[in-house]
């Protein structure tokens, strides 16, 4: 039974259609395994081979992978949420109530998005400290650390812009407190705040701006920098897994 399933999968992977899509056929050889990575537009950001030691749990705690996972969950839950959401006052808040009482699994969708967002912020911080403590930022990986800091800021800004969207008291006042801090920036403070909010207070314009930032601009920025981040892991010699063993 299992054999016939495997045989069927193998013959499927040898069909012309499959090969036209994936550019590599079947076969349990290292060449095929290498092609599976190298011939895939997403996977080719990674190298074909990795150090065995870098896969051990204690090296990375998989924190970078988990951060990517949280981001993917956020994209997958965020897109359906967009279908039920109007970035306008006070409709935004009414949409929250619709998610609770009208939309099938609306509560679950929103909960999952919210918890994943908190998880992603936590994971990004954890990833940063883990990378620091195992010394993985050292040359030649300096610039990837800098990209990581950019990704940390994008993550915080993504979470912050998402915080306003429910348009409840918690959202409104958290953003008010945060944006008031921007006014403290010398010389340009008031202007930066005006640019961000589209007004002097948190209002309907701010909601629309935060929506566009949260759903378009920041996710695109995140995807771009994540791609560079992954590509640099490969270019800088793979995941750092401590000094090589001394040759005895």
């Amino acid at each position: 039974m299992a054999n016939s399933l495997e045989a069927r999968l193998t013959s499927l992977r040898d069909t012309r259609v499959w090969r036209s899509i994936f550019r590599s056929g079947s076969g349990a050889t290292n060449l095929r395994r290498a092609l599976a990575v190298q011939q895939n537009v997403f996977l080719h950001l990674a190298s074909v081979k990795v150090r065995k030691r870098s896969l051990a749990f204690r090296v990375t705690w998989f924190l970078g992978t988990l951060t990517l996972g949280a981001f993917l969950i956020l994209v997958l839950t965020g897109i359906p949420l967009m279908l039920y959401y109007h970035p306008s006052v006070p409709q935004a808040y009414a949409d929250m109530n619709d998610l609770r009482f009208v939309v099938s699994a609306g509560v679950f969708l929103r909960n999952l998005h919210r918890w994943s967002a908190h998880a992603m912020v936590l994971l990004v911080f954890a990833h940063m400290f883990k990378v620091f403590y195992r010394g993985a930022y050292r040359p030649p990986r300096e610039f990837n650390w800098v990209i990581g800091v950019v990704l940390l800021l994008i993550t915080l800004f993504l979470s912050y812009t998402g915080y306003l969207l429910p348009w409840d008291q918690l959202a409104f006042w958290a953003i008010t407190v945060g944006s008031n801090l921007i006014s403290a920036v010398p010389v340009f403070g008031a202007r930066i705040r005006f640019l961000l909010l589209g007004g002097h207070t948190v209002n309907a314009n701010a909601l629309l701006r935060f929506y566009v930032l949260h759903c378009v601009i920041l996710p695109l920025a995140a995807v771009t920098f994540v791609a560079i981040h992954f590509w640099r892991i490969r270019k800088d010699g793979g995941i750092y897994s401590g000094e090589s063993k001394r040759h005895e």
Binding site: N30, R33, V37, L43, V48, K49, V50, R51, K52, R53, L55, T65, L66, L68, G69, A70, I73, P90, Y93, M96, V107, F108, R110, N111, L112, W115, A119, V121, F125, M128, F132, R138, P139, E142, W145, V146, V149, L152, L156, Y160, Y163, D168, L170, A171, F172, W173, A174, V177, G178, L181, S183, A184, G189, T201, V202, S241, S244, K245, R246, H247
Partner: protein, 235 residues
């Protein structure tokens, strides 16, 4: 009496097949091989499958969270009605806590800017590349510098009444001085601390401060940013 050799010398005139390598061994260098190549495995499936399993576990945990705990939804936003206290998202509450002690331009602009800049330049400073213990060289001199820096910092924090920063800082300073001592029979913990470079101490201090300030801002601040207990129901 000839021993069995497990190698063979070979001459090859084809330079494309067998490139000739000439190593110059001076008196100061040693041809001793210090590093060995690591074992490699295929990314697909070894690394990829592990990553997928990790993400699946995360997804399961988050789904369980989402099934049993609802995201909060308060009343409709009302610009006329300020909640007391009005709090920023949790990851900014450390900064909001600092706002309680310092003027906004310091807590809201200067400190976050300095933190981000400090994070960016980490890999470009020698201090963060060195991996030897803080006290392995120039112990007396470094102790003196540390004592002065901490004294100035402590006076500064007392002047501004920043006990939320002062107490964790004193804890870290105490551990640093402890790691500088030379006990006759150092325990494992002491040896571990003594092996740590300065960058470790700075980052750990930052981590502890960020954690303490965020926790205080999240759980111990009530109306008018007064200090309350988490169970008082005033947060």
């Amino acid at each position: 009496m000839s021993e069995h050799k497990d190698f063979a010398a070979a001459m090859d005139s084809d330079s494309r097949k067998t490139p000739v390598r000439v190593a110059f061994v001076t008196r100061r260098t040693s041809p001793h091989v210090k590093r060995q190549d690591d074992d490699y495995v295929m990314t697909f499936p070894e690394a990829l499958f592990r990553g997928v399993v990790a993400v699946e576990v995360l997804a399961l945990v988050l789904v369980v969270l989402a099934l049993f705990w609802n995201a909060s939804l308060e009343q409709l936003a009302d610009p006329m009605q300020t909640p007391n206290p009005a709090k920023a998202p949790w990851y900014f509450l450390g900064l909001q806590e600092l706002l309680h002690y310092f003027p906004p331009v310091v807590a809201g602009v200067l400190i976050p800017t300095l933190v981000v800049m400090a994070l960016i330049v980490i890999p470009y400073f020698r201090i963060n590349i060195e991996a030897e213990g803080l006290w392995t060289r120039n112990r007396a001199g470094r102790l003196r510098i540390l004592a002065v820096v901490i004294a100035v910092f402590v006076v500064f924090l007392i002047v501004f009444d920043v006990f939320a920063v002062l107490i964790p800082s004193l804890l870290v300073a105490g551990l640093m001085f402890y790691s500088a001592t030379n006990p006759a029979a150092p325990g494992r913990f002491h040896r571990w601390l003594a092996s740590k470079p300065l960058s470790f101490w700075i980052m750990s201090w930052f981590l502890l401060e960020a954690g303490v300030l965020t926790l205080i801002g999240t759980f111990f601040r009530g109306p008018g940013w007064s200090f309350v207990m988490p169970w008082s129901g005033q947060i």
